[in-house]
């Protein structure tokens, strides 16, 4: 496994896009979080907004960058034919995929932690100006607070799971454009379908099985009782999606000709 890890790390490290993408992940997440926090204001009479969720809003856009980082690590190899060299040098295919997954998850965890911490900090700075003050019953996002810590740590895990989900799908689909289409369609479309159907039971079902809606439940710190799933169960749904995608990708990598 060490050999594989080293090889995959070298590949990812030396790709031109990796550095800028990680930078984009951090800046975009923080920028969108700060914009969302700046755009929403809470009147003194109160509001239903969840300040922690608002401070972490950028994760919803940052996940797209994570998908862009993850998909080419395998589909790029199919595109250039590098995959045949990779598999010739390291014939244990499952280990190759595991190494890719480990490297990707590690990188995303590091960049995601920076992005999430900076987002929370931005929220702390921006939100009080918009009426989210302790005087009005809003606690500022603080990592000393249990639910906020869970939301922040969960968001980092969320990003890492999105990376694994993308890797799994890309391994199964192989073509980069198609893979990124499938990943983003899965992430962004399912929640939208939930708003289209009028039946509340269907709405809740779609919400439960949608990786983005359910996964982002980890960010909720208010009105938890109204959510169809608890935060950790929601993140579990995303983990199940990621596991299923990696399993499908791994099987296709083992069974199909490269």
């Amino acid at each position: 496994m060490r050999r594989e890890l080293h090889a995959e790390w070298t590949k990812l490290r030396t790709l031109r896009g990796t550095g800028p993408l990680l930078l984009a992940l951090v800046t975009l997440t923080v920028a969108v979080s700060a914009l969302a926090a700046g755009a929403v204001s809470c009147p003194p009479t109160g509001c239903d907004h969840d300040p922690v969720r608002l401070s972490l809003f950028g994760v919803q856009v940052g996940q797209a960058i994570v998908a862009v980082l993850a998909v080419p690590t395998i589909s790029g190899e199919y595109g250039t034919g590098m995959i045949r060299t990779t598999l010739a040098a390291m014939p244990r295919r499952t280990t190759v995929l595991a190494a890719k997954a480990a490297i990707l998850a590690g990188l995303t965890l590091v960049a995601g932690t920076i992005a999430v911490l900076a987002s929370v900090l931005a929220g702390r700075l921006v939100l009080p100006g918009n009426g989210f003050t302790p005087a009005h019953g809003h606690l500022l996002p603080s990592l000393a607070d249990g639910p906020t810590l869970r939301a922040a740590a969960g968001s980092v895990l969320y990003l890492a799971l999105i990376a694994l989900l993308s890797l799994g799908i890309a391994t199964a689909v192989r073509d980069s454009a198609a893979a990124i289409g499938v990943v983003l369609g899965l992430l962004y479309l399912l929640p939208l379908m939930g708003l289209v159907v009028s039946d509340p039971d269907w709405q809740r079902l779609l919400w439960r099985i949608s990786p983005m809606s359910a996964g982002l439940a980890i960010q909720a710190t208010k009105n938890l009782a109204t959510l169809p799933l608890t935060p950790w169960a929601g993140l579990g749904v995303l983990a199940a999606w990621a596991a299923a995608a990696l399993l499908g990708g791994g099987l296709s990598l083992r069974l199909r000709d490269a």
Binding site: R53, F57, D175, V196, L227
Partner: protein
Amino acid sequence: MTTATGTPYRSALPPGRDRFAHLLRSEWTKFRTVRGWVITTTIAALVVALLGLLFASGSRSTCGIGPIEVACPTPPVGPDGEAVDDTFYFVHRSLTGDGDITVRLTSMTGIITYPPPDHDEIVPGLVPWAKAGVIVKDGTREGSAYAALMATARHGVRMQHNFTHDTAGRPGVVSPASPRWLRLTRSGDTLTGYESADGTRWTKVGTARLAGLPATVQVGLFVASPGDLTVKQGSLGGSIEQVRFTQATAVFDHLSLRGATSPGEWSRQGVGRTGDTDWERYHRPAGLEESGGTFTVTGSGDMAPSVDGHQIERLLTGALAGLIVVIVVAVMFVTAEYRRGLIRTTLLAGPRRGRMPVAKAVVIAAVVFVAGLAAATVTVVFGRRILVANGNHVLPMSWLTEVRVIAGTAALFAFTAVFALALGALFRRGVAAVITAMVTIVVPFILATASVLPDGAAQWLLRLTPAAGFAIQQTMPQYAHVLRHYVPAAGYYPLAPWAGLAVLGGYAALALGLAVFRVRRRDA
């Protein structure tokens, strides 16, 4: 002495014709012969149709009187063919031929039931568009033509006619200290409204022409009070709108009529309402109290276009899913050539490089336009039938609007495909192109319609990004004189339909221009 001069070799074959049509044909052949692309484009169309029909068959409405299920009543339709809400309290008598009605309005009061923040009490107050005044109407049927001159709670004096038209008069609030004199004059099918502060100096507010107004009409006093609207954040994203019952009471005096009016008592009628709220039953029913020339009229409701029913563009929500597939196909149509090296053959065969992206754009635009047109037509035609069969009311609209929505959805597909293809030619990398197209078209639309973004930010997203193109699907116009939650999530876009599509078209043209420039400059 002779000099031998060599003649350079020239081929006897006629020079190949450098025609754009050939390029188009070759690009069409490429598209047609890659099975995956044809299948994927078909999938894009199928996704749109299936999601639309699924949505239609999942929507069901039933109405009942007690336990008995009955057919839902069809909402009334206004003179211009749109669905309308026509409910108010009407004190009237008939007028034949020309004439006028003059009255002084001295006060407007009312109640609002269970407003925020606590929703626990009935408070005195008026909603901004509570209205009272004089009206001339073609009978008492809901949806019939009318012109009315009125004072409103917050928007001053207004002249309104036929539900969709509104002219502003003098602003200000009616009170016993500052009453309003209102006069409505009928002359043929022209109605003119005048207002005055003292009953002697009159100013004209506006005129309305009601084509085909019969000789005998109903003339009189009216009071209406639209529901109180509040919007709450939904726990699963989106927002929840609540409309609560309100009631307004207006006091009129100095009522005078001119013209051939019917003699006797005033007729009184709650148009379009049964008055069955607890407030009306136990506290104050809608109606008229008359004493010594003072008329106190109480009523609820509104005379306005209605959105109570299904908008056909909701059937086309699956277009977003279709667009994702279209983006992927359009990007692959160009990046696959770079990946396989076919691009070098393509450019060798057609050396005027700038034409390559244009020819590809024309082909992909035509293909997805046809696919989108077929999908949207099937979805709208059959989806509407399913909706109606399930007892739903589909909001009526002109065939022109319907054609615009269907063809506009196809154009949305075509422009998106051109945009995505141009990005593919610019970046040469599938992932970068797909993600850029998605982040600029799909993601802004989702953030604007299905997230916690405040309405202002959502509207800016749909003005500035290529996602503005979705405006072409809007069927219900936004009316300044009707208070509603006009947000993208409810199907109201910040730009006019064609303006929105033009924004997307502009982005597509810009991207294509950049792609041409780049393909000409850069080595393949």
